[in-house]
């Protein structure tokens, strides 16, 4: 199981807690993980990535293992500790405001 943490507004929208667990078959990538997230929680469709282009919304960031994966190719394999469920994949809103 891969663990994903969601920002508060998306928890409200999906009706979940802070952490959700997802199954991804094969070599897990960011694209496959977000596909699985949107399939399990359809209310999130379009809120993390553009529903058509699958491009990340500009004010969201993807972190894991103390690294910023936001601009890493979505088809690269996820870091091992994320794929194994040891470390979470973190979706968060960028800081804006004072």
């Amino acid at each position: 199981m891969i663990r994903v943490t969601l920002p508060g507004n998306l928890q409200t929208l999906a009706g979940t807690g802070r952490m959700v667990e997802l199954e991804v078959s094969g070599v897990a990538t960011q694209r496959l993980l977000l596909d699985a997230l949107e399939a399990k929680y359809p209310a999130l469709l379009g809120t993390i990535r553009d529903a058509s282009t699958k491009k990340r919304r500009p004010l969201l960031r993807f972190y894991a293992c103390e690294e910023d994966l936001s601009d890493v190719s979505p088809d690269d394999p996820l870091p091992g500790p994320v794929a194994s469920g040891t470390e979470p994949y973190i979706i968060l809103g960028a800081i804006a405001g004072g």
């Binding site: 507004n9 409200t12 209310a43 379009g46 809120t47 919304r57 809103g93």
Partner: protein, 371 residues
Amino acid sequence: MSRVRILVGTRKGAFVLSSDASRKEWKVDGPHFAGWEIYHVKGSPVNPDRLYASQSSSWFGQVMHRSDDGGKTWETAGNQFQYEGTPGPHKWYDGSPHPYEFKRVWHLEPALDDPEKVYAGVEDASLFVSKDGGTSWSELPGLRTHKTSTDWAPGAGGLCLHTILIDPSNHDRIYAAISSAGAFRSDDAGQTWRPINRGLRSEYIPDPDAETGHCVHRIALHPSQPNVLYMQKHWDVLRTDNAGESWHEISGNLPTDFGFVIDVHAQDPNTVYVLPITSDQYHVVPDGKLRVYRSKTAGDEWEALTKGLPQKDCYVNVLRDAMSVDGLDPCGVYFGTTGGQVYASPNAGDSWEPIVRDLPAVLSVEAQTLA
């Protein structure tokens, strides 16, 4: 016995306020969608328990919800708004061409005869319709592709289609207003449109009486006189008696004719409400006094309504979708402020009381009268 439900959209969630016909004791339910910016919540006139809500976030984009139990529970609706074809440009703030980009839904207008049908006015300005309860949305591109649209430019809030009115005597006649393009009318259910801005005069555009380019803030009508429309423009309050063919100013003795909201009494089509705001540079009520102005003469002659409203040290704004009337007699009038107060008058504006005082900034207020 009749009841009243007030649907309130705020910067940080939606609230449902409810009361019996006395409109003295209120139940406050919410926040729904806590943390989301709720531009508008509106119920179907056919089935008042069918509500539609528009949530928007700079981070997470556009989300839509519907409810079938008057807002107790909600389900996700469709949030895909695709312009037809390859959209052309509109003018940017600096006058340069700027491509159309969908940003958010400002206003929802459920159809008068079908709870599954709802119109959405969006930014960048266009009109969409859903015929399946908000699950899927189709653009009615005739307005966005009007020959004048490449010259439309956004107001400070964006290039938004914020007002949709359906003529209750002819559902094919639809009015829309765009900041800052002006007012438009369709007589074929939204397929084709023409500007209806004759008589408007706006000194902030190069040609003050141009066909389009006017920053119309709000339009209202009374069902018994659908050819009579009232308009709060950026500056000026106006009326048309011929479905928008020509307008004339009715600002009369208002302390300032800048403002956002305008609405019409539920029983008397000649009684109109506005809430003057100091100026376009200073978006607060004048002189620290929160005053609704009422005209019983279809404009020109206005009286200040102050009983129960703060008359000193008040510096709030009231945004364009944040006033509504119920259908009871005497008519209830409601408005919400950027300071988070929602005020109610159960007697057509003679006196006011706050229903709630400390909500997030109010973006929209819609009153429903329930059997």
